[in-house]
C-alpha cells in the first residue's frame, strides 16, 4: 500500500516557531468541544482571514518554516487545521508533540527542507510519496522530502491512531 499523492494550492506560508497558541488560542478550547466550531478561530490572532480563505480553496496545503506547532500539547491545534479542510502541512521541521498529534488524527505532516523559501501563497504543489519529493508546479522547482517513517505511514493509511489500534487489538 502506498499513500496517494496530494496536489493542491498553498493557502499560507507561516514563519519559524509558529506555536499552538497561535494556531488556536487557549481561551477557546476550554469552552468548546465541537472542533468544527473551534475551527473558525484557527490562526485568528496572527491571521484573521485564515478560516474564510481556507474555505475558498479545495484541500489546501499549509506551508511553514521550522519548529511548526511548538508550545502546548493541545491537539485542538492540528484538529482545527484538519477541520478547515487542509490536506497536508509541509514544513521545514515540526515540534515533537504536534508532529505526533498530526499523524494520530490522520493529517499528513511532511518535512521538506527549503519549502518555506520555495513555495508562495497560491502556488500549486504536488506531494509525491513514491518519489519522496515535493514539486512546485507553478515554479517548476522540485525539492526532496524526508520519507515518512513506515509506522507513521501505517497510521495515515488506517486514518489515525485510534483506527490503527482498533485493528491491532481485534
Amino acid at each position: 500500500m502506498a499513500l496517494k499523492n496530494i496536489r493542491s494550492k498553498v493557502l499560507r506560508v507561516y514563519p519559524p516557531d509558529t506555536n499552538t497558541d497561535e494556531v488556536i488560542s487557549g481561551k477557546y478550547k476550554y469552552d468548546e468541544l465541537d472542533l468544527k466550531k473551534l475551527a473558525v478561530h484557527a490562526f485568528e490572532s496572527i491571521d484573521p482571514t485564515f478560516y474564510a480563505d481556507s474555505q475558498k480553496v479545495k484541500d489546501p496545503i499549509l506551508v511553514a518554516s521550522t519548529n511548526f506547532g511548538c508550545g502546548s500539547s493541545r491537539e485542538q491545534a492540528p484538529q482545527v487545521i484538519l477541520a478547515c479542510g487542509v490536506s497536508c502541512i509541509i514544513a521545514e521541521s515540526y515540534a515533537r508533540i504536534f508532529y505526533r498529534n498530526g499523524f494520530n488524527i490522520g493529517l499528513p505532516l511532511i518535512e521538506c527542507k527549503g519549502i518555506s523559501k520555495e513555495a508562495r501563497q497560491g502556488d500549486e504543489l504536488e506531494v509525491d510519496f513514491s518519489k519522496n519529493e515535493v514539486r512546485n508546479l507553478t515554479t517548476g522547482k522540485v525539492l526532496p522530502m524526508k520519507p515518512i517513517p513506515e509506522f507513521m505511514q501505517q497510521l495515515l493509511e488506517a486514518g489515525g491512531l485510534m483506527p490503527y489500534l482498533k485493528k491491532q487489538h481485534k
Binding site: G26, K27, Y30, L33, S73, R100, N101
Partner: protein, 417 residues
C-alpha cells in the same frame, strides 16, 4: 556501551536493549489529562474505540486546573463531562482548587523509572524525579487510557553539565533561561535533556522541577535529573519513600550534544515578548513598567517559591500601579504556605492569592487587558498566552518578580535587596 538516563528507563520498560531511534511500545505507569485536553481524549476514546472504560483506574488521573475555578457555564459543563467520566471509572480526580496537574502528579505519582504521559506539554516536569515523563495529545492519552501502553521513539540525549554555585537571587529558572538562550526554542527537539553536575546535585527537588518543566521550551521530549537522596527525601515527605530507587546515567553514556554551564557566572535572566528564547540579563530590561506581576504556575508555584516571594515582600507593598497575583501550585503548597505565614505576608503586601490552578498563565482567569505588560514566573510568553494577544509577557525567576512587584517595573533584585 553506557546508557543515558532515558535509554536506561526505556530499556527496562520495553524489556530490550534500546538505542536512539528505536520505536518501542511500553507500558504506562501513570496517564493524565487536564480540563483543556482530557475532554477531547474522552471523546476520542468514545467515538473511535467505542469505550469509556480505562485500562486501570489506579493509573489514570484527571485534573481540573486550567480553567479553574470555572469562570463560565460552558467550562462548568466541560468539567461535568470530565467529572462524570472520572466517577464512572473510579480514576483519580482532582477538583477545582486541588492544584496544577504537574504539581499534583509530582506529589502523588512521579517516581524514578516510571513512565508518565500527560495530555499537557509540561509533563516533562516529572523528569526531575527521574521518571520518563512526556507530553502528548488527547488522542494518544485516550489510547493509553484504553490500552495502557504507548509507542515511543527512543530519543537522542543532550547533556547539560551544570557546575558551580548559583549566586544570590539566581535560581534554576535562570539556569534554564540561559540554556534556552544558548540552544534556542528548537535546540533540543525530540531529545532527552539530561541535567547533571554539582549545581543540580545541590538543588532542591523543587528547583529541579523547574529545569525539567521547561525542557519542552527548547523542544525537549523529556527533561531528566538523576534520582539521588534528595529525591528520596522528597518522596518521603509525600509518604512515598518506598517508591525511591537511585537512578543515573552511566558514566560512559553517549550524548548527541553537550552544553557546559558555569552556574557561578549566571545572572537573573528575563525572557521578553514573545519568545521564551528571547533572553537577556535582568539589568538590560530593568525599568520596563509593569501592569501585573504573577507568581506561581507549574514552573514556580511551589513552597520554596512562595517562601522566596514572602521573604522579599515582607513588610513591603506591591506598587500601586501594579497588580500582584499569586497562584500556589497545589492545595498542599497553599496549606503549607498558610501554616508557615507566607500567605499572610503576601496578602498584606497586596497580592491577590488565588485558588491553586493555571489561571494567569493561560489567561482563563486574571486575563490581561489590551496593551498591558506582565512579568510572570511561568514558562511561556507566547502572544495571547495570558488571554490577550495585544499584551506583552516577560518571564523571570521569583526574586525578580517579587522585586519588580514592589517597584512596579522590571527590577534587578541584586540592586534593591
Amino acid at each position: 556501551m553506557g546508557k543515558t538516563l532515558a535509554e536506561k528507563i526505556l530499556s527496562e520498560k520495553s524489556g530490550k536493549d534500546v538505542a536512539p531511534g528505536d520505536l518501542i511500545t511500553v507500558p504506562v505507569d501513570f496517564v493524565f489529562g487536564q480540563d483543556g485536553t482530557m475532554p477531547l481524549a474522552i471523546q476520542q476514546m468514545e467515538k473511535e474505540l467505542g469505550t469509556r472504560k480505562v485500562f486501570d483506574p489506579q493509573k489514570v488521573g484527571a485534573v481540573c486546573d486550567h480553567a479553574s475555578p470555572s469562570p463560565s457555564e460552558q467550562v462548568s459543563n466541560v468539567h461535568i463531562f470530565m467529572r462524570r467520566f472520572a466517577r464512572e471509572n473510579g480514576i483519580y480526580f482532582f477538583e477545582n482548587g486541588d492544584g496544577i496537574c504537574h504539581q499534583v502528579v509530582a506529589e502523588r505519582f512521579a517516581a524514578p523509572g516510571k513512565i508518565i504521559i500527560g495530555a499537557d506539554s509540561h509533563t516533562c516536569t516529572h523528569g526531575a524525579l527521574a521518571a520518563f515523563a512526556t507530553g502528548m495529545g488527547s488522542t494518544d492519552v485516550g489510547a493509553i487510557m484504553a490500552y495502557g501502553t504507548t509507542w515511543l521513539r527512543v530519543p537522542e540525549a543532550f547533556r547539560f553539565q551544570i557546575d558551580g554555585e548559583l549566586p544570590k537571587h539566581v535560581t534554576s529558572k535562570d539556569v534554564f533561561l540561559h540554556i534556552v538562550k544558548e540552544i534556542t526554542a528548537d535546540g533540543a527537539t525530540y531529545m532527552s535533556m539530561e541535567y547533571q553536575g554539582s549545581t543540580v546535585d545541590k538543588m532542591s527537588v523543587e528547583s529541579r522541577l523547574v529545569l525539567s518543566n521547561m525542557a519542552i521550551e527548547a523542544g525537549g521530549k523529556v527533561g531528566l535529573c538523576p534520582a539521588d537522596e534528595k529525591v528520596r527525601a522528597y518522596l518521603k515527605e509525600h509518604g512515598r519513600e518506598g517508591e525511591y530507587r537511585p537512578l543515573a546515567a552511566d558514566k560512559d553514556a553517549v550524548y548527541a550534544d553537550e552544553l557546559f554551564v558555569d552556574a557561578s557566572r549566571l545572572e537573573p535572566m528575563v525572557a521578553y515578548p514573545h519568545r521564551v528564547d528571547n533572553v537577556k540579563p535582568v539589568s538590560e530590561l530593568a525599568g520596563v513598567p509593569l501592569d501585573q506581576v504573577c507568581i506561581g504556575s507549574c514552573t514556580n508555584g511551589r513552597l520554596e517559591d512562595l517562601k522566596m516571594a514572602a521573604e522579599i515582600l515582607k513588610g513591603r507593598k506591591a506598587h500601586r500601579d501594579t497588580r500582584l497575583v499569586v497562584y500556589p501550585a497545589s492545595r498542599k503548597v497553599l496549606a503549607d504556605a498558610i501554616r508557615l505565614g507566607y500567605i499572610e505576608t503576601l496578602v498584606q503586601a497586596g497580592a491577590a492569592v488565588c485558588a491553586p490552578g493555571c489561571g494567569f498563565c493561560i489567561g482563563r482567569t486574571v486575563a490581561l487587558g489590551d496593551g498591558e505588560k506582565a512579568l510572570s514566573t511561568q514558562n511561556r510568553n507566547f502572544k495571547g498566552r495570558m488571554g490577550n494577544n495585544k499584551a506583552e509577557i516577560y518571564l523571570s525567576n521569583v526574586a525578580v518578580a517579587a522585586a519588580s512587584a514592589i517597584y512596579g517595573k522590571i527590577t534587578d533584585p541584586r540592586e534593591v535587596l
